[in-house]
């Protein structure tokens, strides 16, 4: 990055806008057709992760549970099927005793395979009330985080910066949710944590460039808004690329090496890092120029 390039990022806003709109509309369509695969955290129910010492097939396990009338809603193998590791999701009718259902699973497995032949790696039970509350608290956390960031931006910088930053955040969050719907990965509390981390990153990127915009505004008051913004983007581009590349690198290493427990978290993070950079450069910052144009027009 020895020479500062001069790329017209603001000019690409329209193309980027169309692309983003397509992705957002796609997410909305997916939301209504496929729906979010909520994890046990939000849906309530029982999740049992079990690993066998011997070879057990998916079909064998399914018919065993059906024979014993275990109210199973989903069964999947974790990782390679040869690892003999499975995730069972159970649901009861309203008011059913989740605890009893969860015990039933280990009873059925013990009577079929014998104690010590399998290990319950994880057993999560979330009652319907707790599930509903976790959902609200997660939503609240997201809402307040975005609001707090907006207020901070408005106070620290200028109100004209806030809409672009918020649009970029909503854009990132929506499209990541879309990715989760598309892959039907489980949307759990951990993913909400990932979304918040992404929001933090995305704003981080945006703020660094706003900072530069403000600096150029002060040192070069004669430049037009579009010129200032393009200049700020170009000047900070090397930093943007290096930072994103390193975070992306860490994220992708964690995604492939980090094991099943944190896999989904870093799936969200990896997509989020790319989206964060894209939305900062092509949405948040250029939007400031358009917002200003709109307000100026009104003022005239």
């Amino acid at each position: 990055m020895s020479t500062t390039r001069n790329v017209d990022y603001v000019g690409m806003f329209k193309i980027a806008g169309v692309l983003s709109m397509l992705l957002i509309v796609g997410t909305i369509v997916l939301y209504f057709t496929k729906g979010i695969n909520y994890g046990v955290d939000f849906r309530g129910g029982v999740e049992v992760q079990v690993k066998f010492n011997q070879s057990v097939g998916l079909g064998e396990l399914r018919s065993l549970m059906e024979e014993n009338k275990v109210p199973m809603s989903q069964l999947q193998s974790i990782g390679d099927e040869k690892q003999n590791e499975f995730l069972l999701k159970l649901e009861t009718d309203k008011g059913g005793d989740l605890n009893a259902v969860s015990n039933q699973v280990s009873e059925v497995l013990t009577s079929k395979y014998g104690a010590g032949k399998f290990e319950i790696l994880k057993n999560d039970i979330v009652g319907p009330k707790a599930g509903a509350e976790l959902r609200t608290s997660a939503f609240k956390a997201l809402f307040w985080a975005i609001l707090a960031i907006m207020i901070y931006l408005a106070l620290r910088f200028d109100y004209k910066f806030a809409p672009g930053a918020i649009a970029a955040l909503l854009h990132d969050v929506t499209i990541i949710v879309g990715a989760f719907i598309l892959t039907q990965k489980e949307f759990s509390l951990q993913i909400v944590a990932a979304l918040l981390a992404i929001i933090g990153y995305s704003v981080n990127d945006t703020v660094v460039i706003y900072d530069r915009v403000r600096e150029i505004e002060q040192t070069h008051p004669t430049l037009s808004t579009v010129e200032i913004i393009n200049r700020a983007l170009n000047e900070t581009m090397s930093r943007t690329i290096i930072t994103s590349a390193t975070v992306f690198g860490v994220s992708i290493v964690m995604l492939f090496m980090g094991g099943s427990v944190i896999h989904d978290f870093f799936f969200a993070m990896t997509i989020g890092v790319i989206l964060g950079v894209y939305s900062t450069i092509f949405i948040a910052i250029p939007m400031t120029a358009f917002y200003e144009k709109f307000v100026n027009k009104k003022a005239v």
Binding site: K51, G95, G96, D97, N99, V101, S102, N103, E107, E119, I120, L121, K122, N123, D124, I125, V126, G127, K129, A130, S137, A138, A141, L142, W144, A145, I149, Y152, R156, L189, Q190, A193, L196, A197, G200, V203, N204, V207, V208, D211, E215, R239, I242, T243, T246, V247, G249, V250, S251, V253, M254, F256, M257, G258, G259, V261, I262, F265, F266, M269
Partner: protein, 568 residues
């Protein structure tokens, strides 16, 4: 050197020594009796070391109901003291959150006097809701309800802690969440079923006299009537809900002040109810487990069967003696959590204050462990409320071990990649960045240890993120310094301006991320909070290391301005 450099350098050195000491016990895995001055190790989350996490909800409705029934007896006795005769009326539990009970006066003309007396005596706990003919109906006082709730919550926590202490778990965590929740964390627990059973069991022991005036056929007829009305016990439902439904349905049939309860036999293998024997017992109770002094496992020598021996406190012994003396020939049911364990006939006044709970037949070892757990919960005290398992997370120890290995390896690999890149891309300055980033991780870990926070998997993710932020902080400064060098500044000036101009970008970026972290901390639960805590600590250490520590090191590197080139 710049102004105050030595001071800042000394501060850094002191922090470094402090942090190294803080993490020593964790990294060298020191035993608690070692001579090293610091003892605390890092607190690993349940996802990393295995264990049980649960959220228990308190079912207050039953407490309201018990209180309201309990006051009928007391109120009736109070009225009798001033010469007003009355009998116990019925329970109206149509609003489960505000149950009401009535007292039937012998004479309607006593009503005003009775109301006045009750107001005088029970103004705080009760509120009179209806005065009609000979009927006086009351509910619980508003303030009193709040008191019941807070007492029930703190008492429940205390009882659970007692039980867990007897059960033997290292570093259990039992805290309240909001007004009606208890969070229990038991790291490293192996026997999850037993732990859950010990915690969730109400262990409410009551002694109730059986109404033998009602014939067994009448009992059967009532139960048939209930069955016809479609009230049946379904597997998976709470048994106590079923019993409650029966009594609500039969409220006009049963003799006043009595209710139906069962002796329930459950098969050990299938967990299914094999036999239900109905009893008609007093609704209120003369004596409860509160009056217990001791509960010990004893062995019946003749039958070689374990039982639980009970010793009452002096006051309880007195009540026991009095009620057995007044009810010779009647059966006294020993009811535990609504289930009749036995109902021996009272042969005579029982002095000395001891009783026993006999357990069902079965193999010796099973009965023994049942007796042991029962004695344990009785000793630790009854829960004042029924607890509902709202959320439970069990992580097997091997998943935890696997998770920590993989996450650690990945975090190391990721960090290594970044550090190597920094050293190549920024040369000597990259080495400075590497030092500050390593310091950042060190400071974050030692802060976690010092504040006693828990490191969970999302927490490791939080550290990975702060490393990213720290790298960004360095990059911001270095890119700035490069820009300043390009416009012809000397290394000394470039470093000074670079740091100055990058400061607000770093601060703003970290503050906005911190805002998201604070929101997580406030609204998140369990594992998400762990992430938030590491993130917030990490942000503080990031700002310190990647700005202030970098500055100290850079000032050392460029010296007083005589350096001509900068390796950046």
């Amino acid at each position: 050197m710049a102004k105050g450099w030595w001071f800042r350098f000394t501060l850094l050195a002191a922090l470094l020594i402090g942090s190294l000491m803080a993490i020593t016990p964790t990294f060298l895995n020191l035993k608690s009796d070692s001579a090293f001055p610091m003892k605390t190790k890092i607190n690993l989350g349940l996802d990393l070391q295995g264990g049980l996490y649960m959220v228990l909800g308190i079912d207050f409705n039953k407490v309201y109901r018990d209180e309201v029934i309990g006051y009928a007896r007391k109120a009736s006795a109070t009225l009798k003291d001033v010469g007003i005769e009355s009998t116990l009326g019925t329970l109206d539990a149509s609003d489960v959150r505000d149950p009401k009970h009535s007292i039937i006066l012998a004479k309607e003309s006593d009503r005003d006097a009775a109301v006045a007396k009750l107001r005088e005596f029970y103004q705080y706990p009760l509120r009179i809701t209806k005065e009609e003919g000979t009927t006086l109906q009351y509910g619980l006082g508003r303030e009193f309800v709040k008191e019941i709730e807070t007492t029930a919550l703190s008492k429940s926590i205390e009882v659970i802690r007692n039980r867990i202490d007897e059960f033997g778990v290292t570093e259990p965590e039992i805290v309240s969440q909001g007004e009606d929740r208890i969070v229990v964390q038991l790291p490293g627990v192996k026997d999850i079923t037993r732990a859950k059973d010990l915690i969730g069991r109400t262990a409410k022991l009551e002694f109730k006299f059986v109404n033998d005036e009602v014939s067994p056929t009448a009992l059967t007829e009532w139960l048939d009537k209930v069955k016809k009305a479609g009230i049946e016990y379904k597997k998976g439902e709470r048994f106590s809900d079923y019993v409650r439904a029966i009594n609500t349905h039969l409220v006009n049939d049963l003799p006043k002040g009595y209710e139906i309860t069962f002796a329930k036999t459950v098969s050990k293998n299938t967990n299914e109810i094999t036999n239900l024997e109905p009893y008609l017992v007093e609704a209120g109770t003369a004596l409860t487990g509160e009056e217990l002094q001791e509960a010990i496992v004893r062995i019946d020598q003749q039958q070689n069967r374990p039982y639980v021996g009970l010793e009452f406190k002096p006051n309880g012994a007195k009540i026991f003696e009095q009620i057995t003396g007044a009810n010779i020939g009647k059966r006294l049911a020993i009811v535990l959590d609504g289930n009749v364990y036995s109902a021996p006939v009272v042969q005579g006044r029982i002095a000395g204050g001891s009783a026993q709970i006999t357990l069902g037949a079965g193999d010796y070892n099973a009965t023994m462990s049942e007796a042991r757990d029962l004695a344990l919960v009785l000793r630790a005290g009854a829960l004042p409320v029924e607890l509902v398992f709202e959320e439970q997370r069990v992580v097997g120890p091997s998943l935890g071990a696997d998770a920590i290995d993989k996450a650690q390896a990945a975090a190391l690999a990721g960090s290594f990649l970044v550090l190597v890149f920094m050293c190549i891309y920024y040369k000597l300055s990259g080495v400075i960045a590497t030092i500050t980033i390593l310091l950042n991780v060190l400071f974050t870990l030692s802060c976690l240890i010092l504040v006693g926070a828990t490191l969970s998997l999302p927490g490791i993710a939080g550290i990975a993120l702060t490393v990213g932020m720290a790298v960004d902080g360095n990059i911001l400064i270095y890119e700035r310094i490069r820009e300043e060098l390009k416009i012809g500044m000397t290394p000394y000036e470039a470093v000074r301006t670079g740091f100055e101009k990058a400061f607000w970008a770093i601060a703003d970026a970290n503050i906005t991320t911190a805002l998201a972290g604070i929101c997580l901390l406030n609204f998140g639960t369990g594992p998400v909070r762990g992430f938030a805590v590491t993130l917030l600590i990490g942000i503080c250490t990031t700002v310190y290391t990647s700005y202030f520590v970098s500055k100290v090191l850079f000032e050392m590197y460029v010296g007083k301005g005589d350096r001509k080139t900068l390796s950046i």
